[in-house]
Subunit: 265 residues, 2 copies
């Protein structure tokens, strides 16, 4: 009995170690990070919309002149109220002399309402929060890039770190991704269209998330299916090289893909 009991403990101990090892240093952190990154992009947009809606009561002209969310948030967080929008201050956060001059003019004749101290405080802090999240988001993107480069250097070079990380997330693990046929890689993320095709005989999808690849948007519309197939082929090759071999094949593959895109554009 004593022996069985001690054996039982040893086995439990060993299983725990195996569980730990299964996760340690694995690509699972990339998957969690890319999930978080997508949430953060959503969150940033939501908070920016809230700031814009709200600050527009005070200075609606700002958002008509400054289109980039980050820039207008930086202006609000740093200059706070409309009366502080003078050219030499504006250019510190928005390096465009012409727009800055126009903004100063608009700020003077704005139809927006004044804000009291309390109101200004909550809006400005909201802009600050949105900017802080954006900063964290960019840091996280850097984390993903670094992890991807160390674990999947060829894929990262060919697909880019974020698209590569998303492919990994869809596949659920590096191993599954490595064993995936390139036809699956081509349509992964377009499952809805794929199953509709299988069930109802509609046209099969030409591409899933690899649609995000910049080369795919370079080619002519009618050649997108061809380009997507070529891209999926090369991505599949890159993943297999990352998983089984360790050679750097990225330069050659990138050159081939660029050549292909030139022919199809």
């Amino acid at each position: 009995m004593v022996n069985i009991e001690s054996l039982r403990k040893k086995v439990i101990e060993k299983t725990k170690m195996q569980i730990k090892e299964r996760l340690a240093g694995k690509e699972v952190h990339i998957i969690k990070a890319v999930n978080t990154l997508e949430d953060l992009d959503l969150v940033f947009n939501m908070l920016f919309e809230d700031v814009r809606d709200w600050y527009s009561l005070h200075f609606p002209e700002l958002f008509r002149l400054v289109k980039e969310p980050e820039k207008s948030l930086a202006l609000i967080a740093n200059l706070t109220l409309r009366k502080k929008f003078v050219k030499e201050e504006i250019v510190k956060y928005y390096a465009n002399e012409e727009v800055a001059a126009e903004l100063e003019k608009k700020a003077k004749e704005s139809t927006g309402a004044d804000l009291n101290e309390e109101q200004a405080k909550v809006i400005i802090q909201l802009a600050e929060k949105a900017l802080e999240l954006k900063k964290y988001r960019d840091m996280l993107a850097g984390f993903i890039e670094k992890e991807m480069q160390s674990k999947l250097p060829n894929l990262t070079k060919i697909a880019g770190p974020l698209l590569g990380a998303r492919l990994l997330r869809e596949a659920k693990s590096l191993q599954k991704l490595a064993f995936m046929p390139s036809s699956t890689i081509q349509v992964i993320g377009a499952e809805k269209a794929l199953f509709k095709h299988l069930r109802k005989g509609t046209k099969p999808p030409k591409h899933g998330i690899i649609f995000q690849h910049p080369l795919l948007r370079k080619v002519k519309r009618e050649n997108r299916g061809k380009m997507a197939r070529a891209l999926a082929n090369k991505i599949s090759l890159a993943i297999k090289e990352d998983y089984f071999g360790k050679k750097d094949i990225s330069d050659k593959v990138v050159r081939e893909l660029e050549e292909k895109a030139r022919l199809l554009s």
Copy 2:
């Protein structure tokens, strides 16, 4: 001609002033704030889920023992890694000796994987970001409460600041809210069910967003319609008093409503 031109300028000037005044000090800030508050609640939940998903790789037992999102985030942000989860540190952020002792034990025998420095950094910072947003959210709730108390003291006392602010948001302005019949107040926020009732003759909705009122959840299920009607009546009364009169009728009304709820529970 000179006269017409100067007249034109004056009229434009006057219109601009009117637009400004229309917004200044109005309840519109309450509406923007309550929209933002709802977004922030959503955002906090999203980020908490991300932290939980991710940190569970390292210390899954934490979330089984600590159910409150804020508490587990505070523990992660301050204690960082599992090995720092010792009782005397834990109780600083989670004042429950028993759970703290259990947490220390679980931390020692956890099946979670170790994190490297980079991984720990991004997760811990995510927890910090979520907590900072929560802090801002609570500050914003305080802003709403203060604004509501100064503009709609009776409504705030009777419906609570957040429910009151949401009613105001649904009505779009204080004036519209003040002229709203109590039957509308009763079902506002349940427009989908209301129009289905009008179109298809389904049962009319018993309550819209006033369902959030704590008294409504105290009464028996079959009495909820009655209680909702009484509540909407009194809320309507309170809003009219806030808008037209300025008397404090809240104590009396709250007493009457509590009596009603007692009878119906």
